[in-house]
């Protein structure tokens, strides 16, 4: 069977980013239609997400009433699901910034179809992540104060040498900058929504949030400069965030955590898991909202290639950790890694390796990269695998440390599971609201990469 190939533009030799030669107006219509007349599928997705969010409400209410005793934490394993879920969700967010900022700097024009939804995903994932440090003490009204750089009742300041405090600055900066970047990108499209609004409420709401944008070229000039520099700021920022998250582990002395490979390994894993989540969200979105000509199979294929690359990088990091554990000659380090493979949590380790290293290898085949079904299945595997990676790193290192007398086995309770499940409810509810009320594709940006947008389009020279 022949592998389907994309038709190329005879002049540029590249594939048209938007298929079927639509006009600018067609693009506006295609993106706005699902917002103006939602399909019944949206209601199904929204109500399901909302009920899972309800589980989070119950889990958190009981946590605040009773305290962290409802979780499965024990003495060696003082860090459990809360940190696992935190690192998992922060990592998910990284793909959004990679798509919106790094691919922008590299002039990868195909990003325009997927950057809006991926940035939204980033923001919602970081909201889910930020929830865990806030609730992990079971007393969020106190935790919020401890996290800020404020002196305590003894006039002592937080320890600025602690990676946990670096983390507070890194993740809150990341959230703020992602939100600003996303909003700046939204302004012209909110103006489009305003000018199309049929009801007064919509006109006023979109009108306020579009700030009176009128497409002025004097404005575009500053706007494009701001966007470019924000992309330049977000690029080192996104690398710094997961680096600093990895410092939470790497700066400690614990075997299995105390390694210099952690920062790049965490960043690669974050991009890997984030792209998988982008695919999980984008595959239903493009089909249910009729956006297959804007988010084309070529886009999906590109994302599959990024997943293959980062998945293989992660596999390399796993292997290198073992090599260094052996090469260092440190018995504690060697034990920690043997324990991961064959110890009490062997099942978690092998789930991680099969999902993260083995499953993306199907993307060496073009047919797999272009098959919606294969992409969806692998994206789910990667999501599962990356959650297990954080579980393996956190729990296997803690439960057997230096002294055998303090070893213990950690098993989560139903409340740990309910909080994890509920965080998905929060994530999907926010994402459903986003696709219902905001343009899920950057309309102005997609138009700007269409051939007709070039002021020299159709000229003979050049």
């Amino acid at each position: 069977m022949a592998v389907a190939a994309d038709k190329l533009d005879p002049l540029s030799g590249r594939k048209d980013l938007v298929e079927g030669h639509p006009t600018f107006h067609d693009v506006t219509e295609a993106v706005c239609a699902p917002i103006e007349s939602p399909s019944w599928r949206w209601w199904v997705a929204f109500l399901m997400s909302l009920s899972v969010l309800g589980i989070l409400g119950i889990a958190l209410a009981y946590l605040f009433y009773e305290g962290v005793g409802i979780w499965g934490l024990n003495n060696p394993v003082d860090w459990g699901y809360a940190i696992v879920n935190f690192v998992f969700w922060v990592g998910i967010g990284h793909a959004g910034t990679l798509i919106s900022a790094v691919l922008f700097l590299f002039r990868q024009k195909w990003r325009t179809s997927i950057n809006r939804a991926s940035e939204a995903m980033t923001i919602f994932a970081v909201i889910c992540a930020l929830m865990f440090p806030l609730v992990h003490t079971g007393r969020p009204w106190l935790a919020a104060y401890w996290l800020l750089p404020l002196p305590n009742q003894m006039d002592i300041w937080p320890n600025f040498r602690s990676p946990l405090l670096w983390d507070v600055f890194a993740v809150s900066t990341y959230f703020t900058v992602s939100l600003l970047f996303w909003y700046v990108g939204l302004i012209p499209d909110l103006a489009t929504m305003r000018d199309r609004a049929k009801t007064k409420t919509r006109r006023i709401a979109y009108g306020i949030f579009s700030l009176g944008w009128r497409g002025s070229n004097r404005h575009w000039q500053h706007y494009e400069k701001a966007y470019l520099i924000l992309a330049g700021l977000a690029t080192p920022l996104v690398l710094s965030v997961h680096t600093i998250v990895s410092f939470d582990f790497a700066v400690s002395q614990l075997p299995g955590w105390h390694t210099t490979i952690f920062p790049p390994y965490f960043v690669a894993g974050a991009i890997f898991s984030g792209f998988a989540m982008v695919l999980t969200l984008m595959l239903p979105l493009r089909s249910w909202f009729g956006l297959k000509h804007i988010i084309t199979v070529k886009h999906l294929e590109n994302m599959a290639k990024v997943i293959l690359l980062t998945g293989t990088l992660v596999g390399y990091a796993y292997a290198m950790e073992f090599f260094i554990a052996w090469y260092s000659g440190n018995p504690y380090e060697s034990y920690a890694f043997a324990n991961r493979l064959f110890g009490d949590y062997w099942w978690a380790y092998w789930t991680m390796v099969s999902c993260n290293v083995l499953s993306p290898q199907v993307f060496w085949f073009k047919k797999a990269r272009r098959s919606v079904l294969v992409l969806f299945i692998v994206s789910i595997f990667v999501n599962i695998g990356m959650w297990f990676e954080r579980f393996v790193i956190t729990v296997t290192s803690l439960h057997h440390d230096f002294l055998p007398s303090s070893w213990d086995y950690y098993s989560p309770t139903i409340w740990d599971a309910a909080t994890l499940l509920g965080s998905f409810g929060l994530f999907f509810t926010l994402f459903c609201l986003f696709v219902r009320y905001l343009p899920s594709i950057a309309i102005a940006e997609v138009k700007s990469v269409m051939p007709e947008a070039d002021p020299h389009h159709g000229d003979d020279h050049e």
């Binding site: 002592i156 700030l211 706007y223 070039d454």
Partner: protein, 181 residues
């Protein structure tokens, strides 16, 4: 008391249906010596700044200044709390162990630069500005969809109703409108 209400005029707006059309029209308006005018497009048209004869944006300088402010705040916050206000020896390190202060300093530099980029951009563009005379023009609602406009204001020293209208019509505009203030 009967008084003819004279309507105030904001200027003339010309409508185009291609990016190419508005680009070449901008070159003509620029060469005719107009200064108080603007082009309006649904997306940034590549090279239109040059076609309009705009100077480069000053925004990068605002962002740089904000970034340096953030860096200074980061360093001085950590220096003052660890060395001056409540010196505590932690892990036998010097009070000013600057290597450990890099992450927070870096994050604050990025944070304030981003504030500079976004709020600096809005400030230079004088946004939010919810009312603008151009919104009085019904056809202008397509500027966020698929139409391109050039608006020349009456405040321009070169403005002359008939001459300016003629110029705009000669640039291949599909329509030229008078815009009320």
């Amino acid at each position: 008391m009967s008084k003819v209400k004279r309507k105030k005029v904001y200027g003339l707006a010309a409508e185009y249906d291609t990016a190419k059309g508005v680009y070449h029209a901008c070159e003509k308006v620029r060469d005719a010596g107009y200064t108080v005018w603007d082009a309006h497009t649904p997306f940034p048209v590549h090279g239109l700044d040059k076609a309009m004869g705009l100077k480069p944006s000053v925004l990068p300088w605002i962002i740089f200044a904000m970034g340096m402010t953030g860096m200074t705040i980061g360093i001085s916050l950590q220096y003052w709390t660890s060395v001056v206000d409540y010196p505590t020896i932690i892990a036998g390190k010097p009070l000013f162990s600057w290597q450990a202060f890099v992450p927070v300093t870096f994050e604050l530099t990025i944070l304030l630069s981003a504030f500079g980029a976004v709020f600096g951009m809005l400030g230079l563009n004088k946004l939010p500005q919810l009312y603008h005379p151009l919104f009085n023009l019904p056809a202008f609602s397509r500027v966020t969809d698929d139409r391109f406009f050039i608006a020349i204001e009456v405040d321009d020293p070169n403005y002359d109703e008939t001459r300016t209208r003629k110029l705009l019509e000669s640039t291949g505009a599909i329509n030229v409108y008078e815009v009320e203030d």
